[in-house]
Every structure is written in C-alpha cells, then in structure tokens.
C-alpha cells in the first residue's frame, strides 16, 4: 500500500444512452465519491470525446489526482485513449484504469441491479488503482541485421525480402549449397514449372545480393540475448576449396578415387569425396567432404590438388567459429521425409524398387541419375506398372505419424501424371484415403490426373508390399467396392510422411523455441501468430513449422520477413512494464517459477531473476511462486484481494 493518501478521480461515462440508458450514472458517480480514496467523481456524456478528455485532464491537474478510474466501455476500446490523456496531464498512464460498465453491465443487464453491479465493478477498479504504481516501459536498442537459418526456398525468400528492405542478412545453410529440397524436385504442381528453372534465379539473386552473406556448410552453434539483441555463434566447416579460385572445371571429382552415395540424388547415384551437389549450386564451388576423403591429416591421396589448375584446393583450411550480432532470427530449417526403413509393412526399405517421393523426383528430374528417364533402381528397366502409396507413415498414430503430411496428395498426383507423360504405355495406380487438394488450382490438377491421364485412384490403405521375383506385390483394398486388390507392380513409390529435418529439436532448444509433440517448430499462436515463435524476435518460415508446399512456404517466409523488417525498422523497442518481478529479499531460489515460463524469461541462481524484455506478463509464475517472492507489477495479490473484498462488500453497492 502506498503510504501517501491516494487521490483518486472517478469519471463515469454516459456513452450517450448506451450506459446512461440503463445505469443510473449520477447515482454511480455519487456512490463513487464516497469510495475510500476517491477525492473527485463526476459523470459526462462522452468521456472519449475531446471535451470529455479535456475534463479528465483538467480534473487531474485541479484535484492533483494520483489515480484515475474511467467507468465506461471495454478497456480494449479506450484504455489507450485515457492513458494518453492522463499522460498529457502529467499523470503516469499506468495509474489509469477502466471499469467496464458498458459491455459487461449496461448492455447485458437492466433495472436497478445494473446500477448496483456498475457500482461494485467501479469500486473494485478504484481499489486496483489504489494499489497501482507508476511504471515506465523498458527501452532497448535494435541490432539492424537478421539471421536466417536454412537455405531452402523459405530461407531464400525470407533473406531476399529482408535484404531488399535494406537490412543485412546472414543466411546459414548446413549443406554445401543453398536450394534445399526444391532444388531436387523435377517439376512443381499444379503448374508443372521446372523446379530448378524457377529456383536457380533466386539462388543467384541471393548470391549476388550485397546485403546477404551466405554461410554454407555452416551450423548455428549457440544463441544468447533477446529480441533486437541476439548474439549467435556459427560454426563454419572447412570445404578445403577456395570458392574464389574454384572455376568449376570438375577435374578434381574425376580423379577422386572415392565413391559414396550422392545425397542430392537420394543415394540413387554416386559421387566422389570432392564434389559439387548439383551444377547450379550456390556458393558455386566444389566441396571436399572430409568424412569420406581418404585422408586430409595426414594427407593420404591428394590427387584432387594435383589436377587443380586453379590451385583452389587448400588442405590447411580450418573450421571457423563466427560470432555475430543480429536483431531478429528466421528459422527455415525445412523438412525431411520419414525414412522408409521405418515402414515394416512396406518392406523396411529393403526392396530396391520401393522408393520414396524424393527419390522419384530424382528419377523424374532431367538432371537426375537417369537423366529424367524413369528407370527402376533394381535393374534399370522402365517400369510398366507403378503404384503410388499415399499416407505412407502419415495419419497413423499407432505406428508412425499421427498427422496429415499435407503435400503428398498433390505431389503424388504430379508424380503419377509425370510418369504417364514419361511412360505413355505405363499404368499408374494411386492408393489414397482422402484427397486433400485444398489449394488454388489443386483440385483441378488432381482431376486432370484422374480424367485425362486415366490414373487409377484406389481408395484404400495399402497393407503390405513385398517383392516376388521381379515384381513388387502390393496388397490393397478398394473400399468403394469392398474388394481386396492386389497389384503386381514394377515400382512402388511411397509418399512418405513429412517430418522436421534432423536437428530441428536441438536447434529449437538452443533458441528456447518450443517444438510440438512431433518435433515441428511451434508458432506463438496457431491462429493469430503463425509466423513467429513465442520467443520475441524469432520467426518461422516453411516446413520446419509444419508440412507445407512451396507457395505456402514462400508466403510464410515473406510474412516472417515483413515482421523482421518491421522489427528492425523501429528506432527503439519498448517493452510493456506490466511484468513479473522478484523480491530478492524474499526469494529462496527454489526455482519453481522458471519452468512455468513459456518464454524462458526466468533464470535462477541464488535467487530468481526475471528478464523484463522476455517476460510477456502472463503472471503464471507469480501464481506458482509459493513463498510470495514473485509478484506482478500492478496486479499484486493484496491489490486483487482488496478488489475482491470491495466487489463483495455488502454495503459496497450503496444503492
């Protein structure tokens, strides 16, 4: 309780007839004038009007008010208005509170009971103001650079949008090239654009952009700080090739004696230890993969360096740790496919002619291991009967993933259609449970696959896939006719569930960003804040947040970028001061508060500390604190209890 006697003013608004038509405003003002701590009470037709605000300002000065209660409409309407007005009159805005006697009284009740309730509501808010302290928002500076983690299409789009707004961007990519999964795709639904043809110009734009610095073959190691002021440590692995010197002649790869599965082709082809993931890779350079090289320290082979005329190969290259400051972070770490090795019923990945969707993309791709001819992995034959299995690993809470992976209906239709284009004499079968084609021109695309390409859609989940001789047998069902079906196929393509890319959860932990049960990054609010993490200053883009197709990823990336730009454009960040605080004299450091905070705003050593900037002001920790050492600014326990008692006081109604 403040020692100085409070001087509270109460201003009752008529809101025309909205309030005054039901609540006896004169009576309310009269009752309020008798509330303890109130030195001035009045009523006026429209408090939010200019004369109304002038009345408020005048009263604050004349009566030297230490607090103000405006009994009017919902605080969501005019709390800001009255707080600003009070500030102009020299009163700290946090000493102004609204008693909602319109939405929660006059519009929902009638008769004398309405006035009685209005009196109780106002009385309670007067008690709150009595306990309020003047507060100042905290100001913090902003580092005007952004970090984008992940160089897939989402990361590329976010980086470009932020950089085009004039801010520096660090783009960190784990693999040797940006481009992500989109670079692996053949053509994209529903337009059947060549994926690389639309992606590579954007990659080039990124590489040429003066505001973007690409850190490929690099990973985020550590993050500290808070919104506007993050410090990040990035580990850049050595590529042993100087990108400035490398002229992409490719002689090194030719002489390299190592052959390992090529990740870009999903293992359907081999690469050497020194390689370029794909010709259009950015950064445009070869990379020596130390893990598969015969030996760098000590040097065991060195043939690549011998043939490199540009002298680009540098075996002494070391790992670098970069420390950077950024104001905002975009996470665009993308997805991976659920491993087909997990699919016991579909052969555990041991049947060579059972492949996943991305492998099929590589078979379809003109730059792929078969130069775009559909040839099956086991014997290179052109498959005449191809079965596509949707929901492979999706929508299966019992064994695999419970959720719908969202993109498979569309890419399967595209696969089947492209297969028919490539092998006109072939037959494609698609096993599905539901077709989810909710996107612009998506339904039409699926219809085209069914109607024009005569792809047979069979509504039923596949139970078992096994090899028999040269064939891959598929046991399915057509639930529409109630018949079991068996297809003796040449190739089976599993539309594997979409899962977060490996390491997402570890990254999330470093950033104090939440992951949902299935490991996707969790947005701050599923409806209202889908582009940002709960931690202020961290934004989400692309499939790392949940299965998404390209247009959705790009849209989210642009949205996240807009948020980043808005944040970085602000001269100062202001944080509302209505947050939790610790009384260090009382805190024993028991640590019960810390895990209650979804923002990681609380750290505990000898005592607990609240990072005011991170605290969003829910007060959950305060209610959890057993000793009462944690409190909430202007919503103190004693304050609330006084409100409760005042609201219930038998004589309190006074009418």
């Amino acid at each position: 309780m403040p020692e100085i006697k409070p001087r509270i003013g109460v201003f009752v608004c008529h809101c025309g007839k909205n309030i005054a038509g039901t609540v006896d405003v004169a009576k309310l003002a009269e009752a309020a004038s008798r509330f303890p701590g109130v030195v001035y009470a009045t009523h006026y037709e429209y408090m939010c009007s200019d004369p109304g605000q002038a009345l408020l300002k005048r009263a604050i000065k004349e009566h030297r008010l230490s607090g103000v209660v405006v009994a009017a409409c919902s605080p969501t309407m005019h709390e800001e208005t009255f707080r600003k007005a009070a500030e102009e009159a020299g009163l700290n805005p946090y000493l102004v509170e609204i008693a909602n006697i319109r939405e929660q009284v006059s519009w929902v009740h009638s008769g004398p009971k309405a006035t009685e309730k209005a009196v109780r509501v106002t009385r309670a808010v007067v008690e709150k103001v009595w306990g309020d302290r003047p507060l100042e928002p905290t100001e913090i500076g902003v580092v005007r650079r952004a970090l984008v983690v992940g160089g897939g299409i989402a990361g590329i789009q976010a980086a470009l949008d932020i950089a085009n707004a004039g801010f520096e961007v660090l783009l960190v990519e784990r693999s040797p090239s940006i481009g992500g999964h989109m670079a692996q795709l053949s053509e994209t639904f529903p337009t059947l654009d060549c994926s690389q043809c639309i992606l590579t110009p954007k990659m080039v734009e990124v590489s040429r952009h003066p505001k973007i610095r690409i850190l490929a073959y690099s990973e985020l190691e550590e993050v500290s700080g808070f919104v506007g002021n993050y410090r990040v440590r990035i580990r850049k692995k050595p590529t042993y090739v100087d990108p400035a010197k490398c002229n992409l002649c490719g002689e090194c790869a030719k002489v390299c004696p190592v052959r390992v599965p090529n990740e870009f082709d999903r293992g359907l082809s081999l690469r050497s230890a020194i390689y370029i993931p794909f010709p259009q890779a950015i950064p445009s350079t070869y990379t020596l993969d130390a893990e598969n090289c015969l030996g760098i320290v000590p040097l065991r082979c060195g043939k690549c360096a011998e043939v490199c005329e540009a002298k680009a190969i540098d075996f002494d290259m070391q790992e670098e740790i970069l420390e950077e400051e950024v104001g905002a972070i975009v996470l665009a770490t993308g997805y991976e496919l659920y491993p087909k090795e997990a699919m016991a019923e579909y052969g555990y990945g041991t049947v060579p002619d059972v492949i996943d969707g991305l492998e099929f993309e590589r078979l379809l791709s003109a730059s792929g291991p078969t130069r775009g001819e559909i040839r099956r992995p086991s014997d290179g034959k052109i498959p005449k009967e191809v079965v596509f299995v949707q929901c492979s690993g999706s929508r299966d809470p019992e064994h695999h993933k419970p959720y719908c992976s969202k993109i498979c209906c569309m890419y399967t239709a595209k696969h089947a259609l492209l297969y028919r284009h490539a092998v006109p004499a072939g037959q494609a079968y698609v096993f599905y449970i539901d077709i989810r084609a909710g996107g612009k021109d998506y339904e039409e695309f699926v219809n085209r696959a069914m109607e024009e390409e005569r792809i047979l859609y069979i509504r039923g989940k596949v139970a078992k896939v096994f090899r028999e001789g040269e064939k891959v047998v598929v046991w399915g069902v057509d639930t529409l006719t109630g018949k079991r079906v068996e297809v003796r196929a040449d190739l089976v393509v599993l539309a594997q569930a979409v899962v977060p890319s490996p390491g997402t959860e570890e990254l999330a932990r470093k950033l104090r960003v939440a992951c949902g049960g299935e490991g996707f990054l969790k947005e701050a609010h599923p409806k209202l804040r889908p582009l940002e993490a709960l931690t202020a200053g961290i934004f989400l883009a692309g499939a790392a947040q949940g299965p998404k197709d390209i247009p959705e990823s790009v849209a989210q990336a642009s949205g996240a970028a807009a948020k980043v730009v808005a944040l970085l454009s602000r001269p100062k960040l202001e944080h509302p001061p209505e947050v939790a605080e610790v009384d260090e004299e009382l805190c024993s450091g028991c640590g019960i508060c810390a895990p209650q905070c979804p923002y990681g705003a609380i750290t505990v050593d000898e005592v607990a500390h609240v990072n005011e900037i991170l605290c969003e002001g829910c007060g959950t920790c305060v209610a959890a604190c057993p000793s009462g050492a944690m409190s909430f600014r202007n919503v103190g326990d004693e304050q609330v209890l006084r409100m409760v008692r005042a609201a219930l006081e038998v004589e309190g109604a006074g009418v």
Partner: protein, 277 residues
C-alpha cells in the same frame, strides 16, 4: 545342469510328440534339465478376445499358479499356440484388478501373485545365444534352404510377439546358426487358416496353397514351424498342384544339427556332401 520348467500342452503329447522329444533331447544336449509342469492343464487354446470373458483366463492362470508353486518365474513352451494363450493371460493379469477377479473365481486354488513369464523355445534359444548354440552344432545343415513359417501366434498381438510382427528374423537367425540357409518368403507371417480347418477346409486349402506357392517361389526346400495346427494344415490341406514342401518343427531341425536325432532321408539328401558329422 540348469533346470527349467516346461509346459507341454495337448498336441505335444499326441500329434506333435516328435517335436517334444526332439526339443527335450536338444535342450538336454545344451545342458538344460527340463521339468514338466506338474498337474498342467489345457492352455486355453484360443485366447478370448471378449472383454467380459474372465472365465477363459482361469485355465491359463491355473497353469501359472502351478509354476508359482514350483517356485519358478518362467515356463517354457514349445507349441506356439500354448505360448500365445499363456503369455497373453499372464499379461492380462498384470492388471491388479483383473488378477483380483481371477483369483476370486478360484477359491480352491492359492492366489496367483503374478510374475511368472511364459517363454517360447525360440526365445529361449535366442537367449542362449548364437555362439553357444553354434558351438553345440555337430551336424550343420549346410546346403539346406530352410524357410521359417511363423504363422500368427508367435507374432501377434504385439504384446507377445517374439520379434517384429511384420519382419521377424529370430527364426532365420536360428536357421543360420544351425548351418542351413534361411529363406524369406512373403507369406511366412500370414495365417494358415488355423482352426477354420474344421468348419471351412476350403478356405484353409486356399491359404495353404498360397503359402506353399510363396515358399516354393522363394526356393524353400523345407518349412519350419512351431505350431502343430500350422503343420497339420500345411500337410493335410495342401491343394493339388501346390509345391510339396516338407514341414518340420523348430525343435526337430535343432535336434538334427545337435546330433540328437536322425536326419530324415528326404532332408539328408539335400545337405551338401562332406560337411555332415
């Protein structure tokens, strides 16, 4: 000699007598003294799937009580059907309320306290370990293409499966250890038709045809099973035209390799020469 308690079940004393004899001889060779569960009764044969059929657990649980009286915490089974029923009942009474109700049914029996595990011969052999088993092999079955037919009861439901229900490998490991070449075939985990053989032999005949066709296609020279009913169906319900693949019990092949049972002539002639003995 380590002593183990063993539950035979009806088939092992009748049609599958050879399975019991061969298995017990092999276990003795491996250093295990096998004691038959005293006063054993029917395993229950088919595990009841209805929630309210507590009575059907009384038989299996009574066998567990017999084991409890012997101070054993494990019963060995050979017949996979017995294994399935007994082990599922043992799982069922892990729930204290179910146990209480079952015990209440049997006022003339001492209360079952839980904790007796039911294991199948293949699990038991797996625990013994490949090395020890391999050391005991005196007549490796080199050259024999041996296909394990799991059927249902060793694999389903998940709670009692001896290995992954869709891609088990436990029997193939055993086959390799015995020196034979394991043959995988898609139908090895599928049902033979089981007791439908009584009311619907037509269906079972169809199933058996598929199983044998699938095994034959994979090149199996002989089939291994742990189930007397599977063996019956595979032999008695073979449709015309289906490959004739002899069916043996797991314990029999084991006994051949350990040298405690004669290798039948039809198998002997398939073994690579010069490696027996």
């Amino acid at each position: 000699m380590e002593r183990i308690l063993y539950f035979p079940g009806c088939a092992l004393k009748d049609q599958a007598r050879g399975y019991e004899e061969a298995s017990l001889a092999a276990l003795a060779k491996l250093g295990y003294e096998v004691k038959e569960l005293p006063r054993w009764n029917c395993c229950g044969t088919v595990y009841s799937l209805a929630q309210d059929e507590l009575m059907r657990h009384v038989g299996p649980v009574r066998n567990l009580i017999r084991a409890q009286e012997e101070g054993a915490d494990e019963i060995l089974t050979l017949c996979s059907m017995c294994y399935n029923t007994l082990r599922r009942s043992a799982r069922f009474v892990e729930d204290p309320e179910s146990l209480r109700r079952i015990n209440a049914f049997m006022d003339d029996e001492p209360d079952y306290r839980g904790g007796v595990e039911v294991v199948h011969l293949v699990q038991f052999l797996e625990e013994i370990g490949v090395e020890k088993l391999a050391r005991a092999v005196v007549r490796p079955l080199h050259g024999l293409r041996l296909a394990a037919y799991y059927g249902c009861t060793l694999l389903r439901p998940k709670e009692v499966a001896v290995d992954h229900p869709d891609r088990p490998e436990i029997l193939e490991r055993l086959v390799s250890t015995l020196g034979a070449e394991p043959v995988l075939f898609p139908e090895r985990v599928e049902c033979c038709g089981a007791y439908l053989t009584v009311p619907r032999p037509d269906i079972v005949r169809e199933r058996v045809g598929e199983i044998l066709r699938s095994a034959g296609l994979a090149g199996a020279q002989a089939l291994l099973t742990a189930c007397p009913l599977c063996k019956f169906n595979l032999e008695e319900r073979r449709p015309l035209g289906a490959p004739r693949i002899p069916v043996f019990y797991v314990g029999e092949a084991l006994a051949w390799a350990l040298g405690v049972r004669e290798i039948p002539a039809e198998i002997g002639k398939l073994l690579s020469t010069g490696v027996t003995g």
